[in-house]
Symmetry: C2
Subunit: 238 residues, 2 copies
Amino acid sequence: MANLDFSTTPFADFAYTKIFGTPDTAAHFAKVFGDNASLQRALSALQRGPAYFYRDNVIAFDEDVAEHLFFVIKGVVRSCKFCKSGTRSVVSFYLPGDLFGWSEPKLSLSIEAATDSEVLFIKRSGLLSLASRDVRVANVLLTAASNEIARAQEHVLLMSKSAKCRAATFLTDLWVRLGKAKYLDVPMSHQDIADYLGLTIETLSRSITDLERSGLISRVTGRALLLRNHFALGRMMN
Amino acid sequence: MANLDFSTTPFADFAYTKIFGTPDTAAHFAKVFGDNASLQRALSALQRGPAYFYRDNVIAFDEDVAEHLFFVIKGVVRSCKFCKSGTRSVVSFYLPGDLFGWSEPKLSLSIEAATDSEVLFIKRSGLLSLASRDVRVANVLLTAASNEIARAQEHVLLMSKSAKCRAATFLTDLWVRLGKAKYLDVPMSHQDIADYLGLTIETLSRSITDLERSGLISRVTGRALLLRNHFALGRMMN
DNA sequence: CGCTCATTTGAGGAACTTCAAGGTCAGTGG
DNA sequence: CCACTGACCTTGAAGTTCCTCAAATGAGCG
């Protein structure tokens, strides 16, 4: 895990907020809540933002009162926890279209921008009361929560596998979540990934190098990867 | 992880079902759903069981269609996953009063009795439509799902700590969940715990022995433990 | 008691971490 | 244009933790 120097961690909040949403906002929103106009209006009354965060900015602090759910419009958001020992664990990455932040009454994790990103805040109480009047909203919430459970449980399973398997699984999952593009452009830092996988950056790097040497993936440029052998990757993931 | 011999694993289903609930059923039900009579009636129309399972019986198979949620009345239930390699991971333990089984449309884990136990099956579709009519039910469901998320995320965090810390955390959490009794009577097998913590039984045993030698806990009889030094345990948990 | 099954203990090896150094790349200023 | 810088990633060697295998001990039960 990363041994982070808190003095350099940007806990100051450099986020700036715009009044009006971007086209992406509506698109991702519609994907999750459906494109019903009256529902959209009801929802937009509950939202704050979108707010923009630079990489490593803190979006919400661990232990803060959890008044809002978070909806990612752009970029990658991570939830993570710091130990007294100074180590960090990344619990989850959230991508555009993800709705999260279920812990109550306080956040149990710090929410941070893993890349420059754009996040919508949705008032929890308002969303819940809307859900009690509109079954569709209730279903969206339960589906989002179920997805979060499934992902966390998959993560637990991942953590008792070998380093190489963890890396292979992470890359494949990310490739799927990002839409199975030809090249996988890994958006977050290796440190973030290592902290997510419960490995050191060194072990992560060695695992990726291993995968490359075995011909399962290859590095194209900087952060772009090509997943060459999906069958072998699948076998590796177990 | 356990390398289980499938030929001896009791995949046959020895569960037997009684028509009428036990007093415990109502008590645990009321704790979760409140003791509203009309609500109780509506719920009881959706439930099947209670069903009784002996230790290691399978309650529901991985990949089965997830038609029901599960509600534990008595005993301990585990959710787990088997790999092709024959290893097993335990993802969660559920205690009396726990409502779980959110994955859709199929189960992604096998649900098994970790001790002799008593489980209620609640029709998912019925519960969801009840939730859309009754806000209280909707809140119960969201709360249960939130708890599940929190627990899974805690589990993820746990998996990147040392063996001794994992053992200490597990025992303390269990003690809390079981009501902070004077003695902690560990209900599940060491193999189950090891598979939950991502350790071997040997490492688990050594960790517990370590904790005992350091005076943090002591063994009373067979499965009963005394958590001696809660402060030191807390420090160990980090 | 003598069986079985669960847990403990020990010794050796594998996987991962740690520490330390080297390499790559983008941005910056001469 | 090129050297300089800092952030990030990679590689190597040594150390630690945990796993594996094997055997001993303990607990429950007919």
